[in-house]
Symmetry: C2
Subunit: 128 residues, 2 copies
DNA sequence: ACCAAGCGTGAGAATCGTTCTCATGAATCG
DNA sequence: CGATTCATGAGAACGATTCTCACGCTTGGT
């Protein structure tokens, strides 16, 4: 029920804050190892999941199905435009698609509508 | 280079046509086994991937990360509204979001924009 | 119809991201 | 300062998907 503050959770949160791009659990585990914070891989997975459940980090899947995490600037609901190669991320505010998604769901008598909306592309720097 | 017609591919295509909902490779493998068509699991995976590459079937991931396949009515690009519990699927035509996705990508100088847009909900029949 | 060439198949091994197990460690609270 | 109980971590287990490779079948030409 209660969430305890541990060295490990603080370390994961801090490593996460240093990242600009979406990162996988394994990548973050490596970041932690490199900076000297010893945190078990299982703990990294658990902690990220906990953060995600608390909406403290955003979560998405890349084309390979790997789960990526990122602490975003804005707390409110939003979407992402992510560079396929460097994962540079732009936070997108999409009132247009929000309305569209809700309307479509209602029109077909579906409830508890949830939407997965992510944009992938190649950023300027990653273009030859 | 050339694609050969085999008993297995015909069987997978046929099983796929009988389905109304999105199905995983393993589910389709089971469907094939049940109807007496013996097709190896690896072949089912390969065949579905081949069909997807040829845009003959649509492909998406559920919340657990499993890949689901479905032969849709419309051949043109579209999206889906899928029931989380029974996977009943509605094909969605989204000119609104198409334009939105393209505009957002261009605005941030990203190219080769690709979008993942799927809606999940609970259909009427699956509501208590 | 016959044959050679090479793509397709399948059983099982291998991958790999993620989760589980469970004994041990550490936050929390009175 | 305990007692309680959640958190941790090393390694095992899982599960979806892919890979391996010997053998079979489709195909295109003769
Ligand atoms: Mn949204
Ligand atoms: Mn679209
Ligand atoms: Zn980039
Ligand atoms: Zn349903």
């Amino acid at each position: 029920m209660t969430t305890r503050m541990t060295r490990q959770r603080a370390a994961v949160a801090e490593a996460l804050d240093e990242q600009d791009e979406f990162r996988s659990a394994q990548q973050l585990h490596e970041v932690l190892r490199a900076r000297g914070d010893s945190v078990g891989l299982a703990t990294v997975y658990r902690t990220l999941q906990t953060f995600a459940d608390a909406h403290e980090v955003d979560q998405l899947r890349n084309a390979d199905g790997e789960v990526l995490y990122r602490r975003c600037e804005r707390v409110e609901h939003h979407h992402h435009l992510v560079c396929r190669s460097c994962r540079r991320t732009i936070e997108i505010d999409g009132p247009t698609v929000e309305a569209w998604a809700a309307k479509v769901g209602a029109a077909h008598d579906f409830t508890d509508i949830d939407h997965t909306i992510e944009l992938w592309g190649t950023c300027k720097d990653c273009r030859g």
